[in-house]
Amino acid sequence: MTTSATGPTPVTGVGSVPLPHGVSRRAFLGFCSTMAAALALPVGEIARAVAAAPRLPVVWIATQDCTADTESLLRSVDPGISALLLDVISLDYHETLMAPAGARAGQALDAALDRGGYVCVVEGAIPTASNGVHCLIDGETGLSLVRRATAGALFTLAVGSCAVDGGIAAAAPNPTGATGVSGAVSGIANLVNLPGCPVNGVNLVATIVYYLTHTTLPPLDSSRRPTFAYGQRIHAAGACDRYEFFRAGQYVLAWGDEGHRKGWCLRRMGCAGPRTFANCHTRNWNETSWPIGAGHPCVGCTVSRFWDGNTPFYVRKPGN
């Protein structure tokens, strides 16, 4: 055997980490309670809505992406990500996770688009220079694929900053003419933008669950972002828990200095919190922390064109 020389460690009661049961009712209830917290809705209402059959079909298109939004989806619910995939949605096309490849994968996509009634998720920027040849999927450009997949969708979720505004691919000098969904598909209806690098998966899933619960999209701001996730400024009283130090004029000046160890304000290290609207501070990443909480400035990854507008990252921002 290649198990450890000291023998197996008992699983139950390992520290404070709960034991998920991937196929149990607990996974489903865990999913519902996480969503209830994200959307401030009763658990029972969510449980009734998301358990309805048939499951909501989802077609996930990846273009100029890094797959972090997919990974974020897999971190979105604790416990119960298996419940999302088995009980709540039907992930009918997703290249990173689906069983078939090649022609069979293409057939799965065509079938899902023909059936209709699906949510289209787009992850990644869409290159438009040179007729889109910088992203080719089975001989089709990403631009063509995104237009085809969004055309018949109930609604489209642009997940992550790349799908929203081109993200890093569109950063100067934008070598491939990359843009987001709204830039690539003119006049697209029912678009929801979920920026972030990546999107926090909780916000992605909560948007879908809101639709299942209300059969409408959640309230959106003028940039088509759900207000439940993008309605609050990070650098504000009651938001960032370092704000009290900002009020007291206490700043981090070097990595590891007294202020850094005591959690003082990161403004002078380049923090973009004052210009950033997000919910990282209330819906912590991995239900554990967020960059400012761990000691690093916010880079403002939900801010439009932040790769150009917020850099250099470590220089104090104008007017900040």
Partner: protein, 561 residues
């Protein structure tokens, strides 16, 4: 006949594989990276301290690794030595990444190549229970448990909405797992789905988030440590990470490694299929306090585990003879001059002209030779270098399976070495946490060398490189800094090595070679091709990049009809 697999699914990013299949076996293969962003070009003229934030976005599956290589490259250029706490924190984050990446790879990316969902539906839960009890002490082992998993899967299938599993190659004759083994592994597919998010909470504690943790800085880490502060890494957060480390070790020892051995026993033919090029390259990683590295660097040629050649990074070149770029070739990455020039067919198209240029991927070579990188390279180099723990792990597993070391050079060999290095790293997380605890307890709270933080302290020009062993293999960043800005940035990535197209000499890339001779039972269901390619765990967003040296604009793409 030509068999085209596009998209190759269950990988990171986009990949197209074309194969020539005659008499039921692959006789030739072409690997195409069909997506390109130009991140290195985006980096030019930016603050070198920002580079890691950009390069981390090369990939969100192997998040962290291109952040680490980037800060190392800039630190190397500026002559910065990071403090011990930063070394430990970086090791912890990278180790957590390995565990997460490799577990997800086995179950969710590679698993459906070996596990037949429909076979699991015919399993006897009592027999599955007996099988699980024979594998390990993992507590989810009762007849009732497996009956519940089976019922859950059956209900899922009966719903008529097969979702991710629709169109899978179920019932393919190449599936050799028993129904009970299939049910056990499907149960672990679902369990791993829920466990994976626990493993990377180490990133959330030390890095603020995952994917794309955000506490790297040139000079160390922005993760404050202080035993008296609730806003820094303190004994409470170390305890939490110790608990996660125990969870990781338990899952790896009781689920991942036993399952991998079960697969290896069930697919004996695949210990000699997909053997590949037999040349291995490892840059080494996980620096220990004594200056050694857990994974030593080195080069192995012709499947010989008798000796390790010393790695010389100056011998690495990239060749673009068969890639959609123009310019001189081959060149060392530090001197790379590359201009993108797509010359493939106008989309939409059915076929590529594989006799010419056929990929956005370049062809890295070592002294002109094709190299495979990744878990096989790491474990084989450590084994050949007589690293004790590597010897124990490899000899133990091969002994259990009744195989010789030659079996490492195979589809199963890549899977096995991936599992064994995960086991090795899972063992190291807790001791590294102890080192961090001891430093904190002793009052060592330094997490960065900040003496060269201000650009005004830098020389007018500086060059450097940084390497890491990413989960998929050797990763190198080369940077040139001029007047406080990035003048040149070049990245050579694991899947660029493994998924390369041909070079000027016509040599096939690593997985192009591994595909030669692979049996293909059914052209409509290229399961065997997926098995070989997936054994490398392709990461294609990583694999494609371009940089024009000296910061010139990338030229306009030429589309040739």
């Amino acid at each position: 006949m030509k068999i085209v697999v596009d998209p190759v699914t269950r990988i990171e990013g986009h990949l197209r594989i074309e194969t020539q299949v005659d008499a039921g076996a692959v006789t030739d293969a072409w690997s195409t990276s069909p997506m390109f962003r130009g991140i290195e070009n985006v980096l030019v003229n930016r603050d070198p301290r920002d580079a890691w934030v950009f390069t981390q976005r090369i990939c969100g599956v192997c998040t962290t690794v291109s952040a680490l290589a980037s800060v190392r490259a800039v630190e190397n250029a500026l002559g910065i030595t990071i403090p011990d706490n930063a070394r430990i924190i970086r090791n912890l984050m990278e180790a957590a990444q390995y565990v997460h990446d490799h577990v997800v790879h086995l179950y969710h990316l590679h698993g459906p190549d070996w596990i037949d969902l429909t076979a699991a539906l015919t399993a006897d839960p009592a027999a599955a229970s007996s099988l699980q009890r024979s594998l390990s002490a993992w507590p989810n082992n009762s007849t009732e448990y497996f009956a519940a998993v089976k019922a859950k899967l059956q209900a899922f299938v009966d719903s008529g909405q097969l979702g991710l599993f629709a169109g899978g190659y179920w019932g393919h004759p190449a599936y050799d797992l028993s129904p009970e083994a299939s049910l056990v592994l499907m149960a672990h597919y679902l369990e791993a789905l829920d466990w994976q998010r626990e493993f990377v909470k180490i990133h959330a504690i030390l890095g603020g988030k995952n994917p794309h943790p955000q506490t790297y800085v040139v000079g160390g880490m922005a993760t404050a440590v202080d035993p008296t502060s609730s806003r820094a890494v303190n004994p409470t957060s170390v305890s939490r990470m110790k608990a996660i480390a125990a969870t990781i070790k338990t899952f790896v020892d009781q689920v991942y490694v036993p399952d991998l051995l079960l697969l290896a026993r069930s697919y004996p033919a695949w210990t000699s299929i997909g053997r590949g090029v037999g040349n291995l390259l490892c840059v080494g990683d996980f620096p220990e306090r004594d200056g050694t590295r857990l994974f030593p660097s080195g080069v192995i040629r012709n499947r010989s585990l008798g000796s390790v050649e010393t790695l010389d990074q100056s011998r690495i070149t990239e060749d673009i003879t068969r890639s959609w770029y123009t310019g001189a070739t081959p060149l060392h990455p530090a001197d790379g001059v590359t201009q993108v020039a797509y010359t493939g067919p106008t989309p939409p198209f059915e076929a590529l002209d594989t006799s010419g240029r056929y990929s956005y991927g370049k062809a890295p070579r070592y002294g002109g030779a094709v190299m495979e990188v990744g878990p096989l390279a790491r474990m084989a180099v450590a084994y050949a270098a007589n690293v004790t723990r590597a010897r124990q792990l490899v000899d133990g597993a091969l002994g259990t399976l009744g195989l010789g070391t030659d079996a490492l050079f195979s589809t199963v060999g890549r899977m096995l070495t991936r599992a064994l290095e995960t086991q090795w790293l899972a063992e190291r997380i807790s001791p590294w946490l102890d080192e961090l605890s001891a430093n904190i307890a002793a009052g060592n709270l330094t997490i960065a060398d900040t003496t060269k933080w201000q650009p005004s302290s830098w020389p007018a020009t500086a060059t450097g490189y940084g390497t890491t062993e990413a989960p998929r293999g050797a990763l190198g960043h080369w940077v040139r800094i001029s007047d406080q800005k990035i003048a040149n940035y070049q990245i050579v990535i694991p899947s660029t090595w493994n998924g390369s197209p041909r070079d000027v000499a016509g040599n096939r890339g690593a997985w192009e070679q591994a595909l030669l001779g692979v049996p293909v039972h059914d052209a409509e269901q290229p399961l065997e091709i997926l098995r070989v390619v997936h054994s490398f765990d392709p990461c294609m967003a990583c694999a494609v990049h371009v940089l024009d040296a000296e910061g010139a604009e990338v030229t306009e793409v030429t589309v040739v009809p």
